[in-house]
Symmetry: C2
Subunit: 342 residues, 2 copies
């Protein structure tokens, strides 16, 4: 490679006084760039000696600059919109547009959507689920660069990014322990999904790391809705030796736990501390007192998935033997969001 | 027209033992139909003498069977997912797939998305907003069949479907009056948006229709979030002659009103009745007691918009002088959802 490849697209953007997205759109022959901006970019490319990756240039005419985004129900559910947001913003910065199809769990629509996307020559595909789970995406997604978002295939044959649930459970429980609690309840979900298994695993590891014996009586399983949280909390409060703090599988169960605690005339956090999971703003930020919770890295997973796809697209035609690498299986951290409930 | 046009696509579907969507996909040369299903449909067409609209057949090769769906933030916000759901389901029944772009209010992305959609030969475009408002969609959407969803252009030059806000306010207030209340507070939003003006108008009309004089003291304006609802409710409770019922601009303000009422040691609905607006399930169904509220017709608007587009597509090439009709400006009713707060 010649030396001039060290000039980056960022340098060109700075020189031209435009965003990186605009440079990318000019390079890719995207129609929607003003004549002025295009002229500045072309000047900046000449002056800087910038040379975009040859493979990318060769492929230019075959690029649609569209990334397909297939999901079960991210667009229609109130739970995971930030996945779409992180992905869309990152795509647009790279001069690409996300076309989303929300299949509402219809497998025929899902297959058809993937095929239509490939027919329309999308550059790559994101297959995203509303909650962390094992998935069986249509075979066709393997025909083009693809990545799984908030899901994975059991044999790890497709790149994937999911939340680190076990670490989240560990952090949540540790935060309660650090606030002096040793008798900590856990209102878990009932269905066997990764979050259900892994958050419990994190809860147990944290107890163990702090020399607190596990007490099975303190773990209850309920549907992770307000009603389940209410009911689970009542069960814990009825124990001869009730907990002084409770970790809830998600913010919706915490919402119900709040009601149970209030109904008993107890105060949060003075009488009982509560920590949630998900950081579902509509609930967590709006409860009184505000709910301390673990944030799902929705936005970050969206960014990661698109950045991964863009790097795969860049690598096409390079001698990196991409096909021989194992697809990455990435876990992203769930950060603690402190409010007033612990 | 020949007599055989009276055989409908539904008849063909019934005869073939498949869904209408499958028939439509066969007619439109959609790839994703099993050989068996295609054979049954072709047999049923022959037997029934069904003749699809000629124009649609002629245009077949130019149809992508994709409907573009451009939105400010429906996919990323937790508020209006049912719009997407109604639209997607209706499109799919008609053998079409919705491609959504969520622009997060970025006008450059919005323009580019519309142009990319048109480049990719979508059959029609839906321009949808997260809340009911006047909109200024990119000019380019006028090049192909388009419809505005949950928004409108001031000059009514594009077809539009929005909620009937005034009727919703009227119904909510009337429901409280019918439950014996005559001193009814209204916690309105502060920004000048259609819902703000029109729900107040409905509130006033209902009072007037029932011979109750309007009392300006009973109407407070706050940001329509829990904090605003809490604060507005406190203001009303501090009146020398406080209301016995309160209509809240939305479910989020009602959530805050609940906290204020509880903090005063009052009971809902025995001491004070509460009615919301939006039927945002995550809140309305999960509050204790469940919140009685007006439902936004999100799902129905999604259906209406796609059905309108499909009928426009059917009309292409017919002698209906479509261009000379005024684009419909449709208001859909907000139904009352009764729970336990009144």
């Amino acid at each position: 490679m010649s030396k001039s490849t060290k000039v980056t697209i960022q340098d060109v953007a700075r020189l031209a006084g435009v965003g990186v997205g605009t440079v990318s759109r000019v390079l890719n022959g995207h129609p929607n760039v003003s004549a002025d901006a295009e002229a500045s970019v072309r000047r900046a490319i000449e002056e800087s000696g910038y040379r975009p990756v040859a493979a990318a240039q060769t492929l230019r005419s075959r690029r649609s600059n569209i990334i397909g985004f297939i999901t079960d129900e991210i667009a229609t559910s109130p739970h995971a919109g930030q996945i779409m947001r992180g992905a869309q913003e990152t795509a647009w910065k790279g001069g690409k547009i996300l076309f989303l199809v929300n299949t509402q769990w219809d497998p025929e629509l899902e297959r058809s959507a993937v095929e239509t996307m490939i027919d329309r020559q999308v550059d790559g595909l994101i297959y995203a689920t509303m909650f962390h789970r094992a998935a069986t995406p249509p075979q066709a997604i393997r025909q083009i660069p693809s990545v799984l978002l908030d899901c994975f295939v059991e044999d790890a044959s497709l790149a994937s990014v999911v939340p680190n649930e076990a670490d989240g459970g560990y952090q949540a429980t540790t935060y309660l322990i650090e606030h002096g609690h040793r008798r900590i309840g856990y209102i878990n979900h009932v269905e066997d999904i990764p979050a259900q298994r892994l958050r419990l695993q994190g809860y147990r590891s944290a107890l163990e790391a702090h020399g607190i014996p596990f007490d099975a009586e303190l773990v209850v399983e309920r549907y992770s809705e307000p009603k389940g949280g209410y009911d689970g909390m009542m069960t814990l409060l009825n124990l001869p030796n009730p907990p002084s703090a409770v970790f809830c599988f998600n913010d919706r169960s915490a919402m119900g736990a709040y009601d149970a605690i209030r109904q008993r005339g107890l105060r949060i956090p003075q009488d009982i501390a509560v920590i949630g999971f998900d950081n579902q703003e509509l609930i967590a930020a709006n409860l009184y007192p505000g709910l301390t919770t673990m944030q799902l890295p929705h936005y970050e997973m969206g960014i990661w998935a698109v950045e991964y796809l863009l790097s795969e697209l860049d690598a096409v035609g390079k001698d990196e033997a991409a096909a021989e690498r194992s697809p990455p299986q990435v876990l992203l951290k769930c950060p603690l969001v402190v409010r007033d409930s612990v």
